[in-house]
Symmetry: C2
Subunit: 276 residues, 2 copies
């Protein structure tokens, strides 16, 4: 693991690190904020999974999360959204290939040799973090934005007991029925749509739900709201009687200004679960 | 004036606007955050002047300032750091020309036809803001980072009565004696160093000081601290008995992580003065 940078930040350290990923078969970069408390022992960890076109960097510099994580003594990890590099397959479209891993393990060429973001985020990176940093992996929570909200919700529901709480900002909520989803799941997983269901929050909510509290915010003026389909997830959450707070925030769009606005409440929500 | 974008943000609106600038003889772009309270009437205004290489955008998306401005009902304006465009003179160096206006009125070719940032920030943009937005121009404060900290301090001291408070993050404090300053003041203002003194915070502090409270933060690990020369400003502040809080923050560097960390305190500092 190589240290790219470390900056003092809200009493802790905002680091950027790279490492050779066995899952993705390339070098991967991630951001990690450690609060001051990590100097004295392991701290809880909140994952932030980012959206289409983002790297590890966007949320790290634009979401204003470190302020609140420092207040609660929580670490933040910001993974990249896909494998990257010259040898890694890509597509001209912004929503496929590099920057658009969708948090799945691709099974189809040309994607299957590198695009293993599910394994990377659920196995390889957690192990790397546990080995190298003062993190209490028994106290994890997860959130994300857009494609990353999709990742947070699907991963949280698929790994019962791993995360104490889950939240999302403007998640892609029903990708098997959206142009943000059908294209990518088809490309990465192939035509057999039965393999897609494991990567659809609405379907997972109908099937199993989440064993903890859930918070989802979406802006009423989100320019992509028809692709996000919050109504599908809301129907599934309500039918299941899932413990959840689903909010439509008046006037907000899909931008990081929306994320930053509600970050304080999301981190406080996770802190309640992490310190329960 | 043209609206480039408006995003809901912390209950208010983060806007980006462009206009034809008479001072700079080109189109200029700025960011303006209006808190929710601006819907009901004029609100106080805090200026944030940015550093070398920045546009209006950097602080707007990376400083985390809107959160605290919203809490105090204060507007934020983020001007660009120089004139820009194909017809505008530039230099290969990052610290001269576009992105490096130094908040002066250039008198020397090739800069003098566009580089009038002093007039732009002290006259043209304030007038434009007053005419177009719900701002109480009797309640203004000013801050900035690095070159922008230099701008904030020099402008505040040069316009007594305009700003109720001034602060700075890692300001270039003594440019007439620094490689961040001598090169640019020479290029923009010419060889007669008597014209440079009006743009040096340390010299202005010795000469006149500021008629209000002052707050300055610099990181002890700032990689540019030898260029910033906080010790020169500190000596002048102390000799004058200027009302001021000068802080060296242990471990912090020159980055936006440093700015974001102390933004809450800077905005609270200005709020005290703006609502006094």
């Amino acid at each position: 693991m190589e240290t790219i940078s470390e900056n003092a930040c809200f009493g802790g350290t905002q680091g950027v690190y790279s490492h050779t990923s066995a899952s993705c078969n390339c070098d991967m970069t991630f951001g990690l904020f450690l609060p001051e408390e990590a100097q004295d022992g392991p701290v809880p960890l909140l994952w932030f999974l980012s959206g289409l076109t983002c790297t590890h960097e966007n949320a790290m510099i634009k979401a204003g999360a470190q302020s609140w994580a420092a207040e609660h003594g929580i670490a933040l990890v910001f993974p990249d959204t896909s494998p990257r590099g010259e040898g890694v397959a890509d597509d001209d479209a912004y929503d496929l290939g590099q920057g658009a891993g969708f948090y799945v393990n691709a099974t189809q060429a040309p994607w299957s040799s590198h695009f293993k973001m599910w394994d990377y985020v659920t196995e390889e990176l957690p192990n790397l973090l546990e080995q190298n940093f003062a993190l209490d992996m028994k106290r994890q929570a997860i959130t994300g934005h857009s494609m990353g909200g999709h990742g947070a919700l699907t991963i949280a529901m698929s790994l019962p007991g791993r995360f104490r709480s889950v939240s999302a900002f403007a998640p892609i909520s029903h990708p098997t029925a959206s142009d943000w989803g059908r294209k990518q799941l088809g490309a990465y997983l192939g035509d057999d749509q039965s393999t897609w269901a494991a990567h659809d929050s609405t379907l997972l909510m109908r099937e199993k739900g989440f064993d903890g509290p859930m918070l989802v915010d979406t802006g009423t003026k989100d320019q992509f709201i028809d692709l996000l389909q919050p109504e599908a997830l809301a129907e599934a959450v309500n039918t299941r009687r899932q413990q959840a707070v689903l909010r439509l925030q008046p006037g907000y769009d899909h931008s990081y200004f929306f994320i930053a606005t509600f970050m304080e409440e999301h981190i406080a929500f996770h802190a309640d679960a992490l310190y329960a």
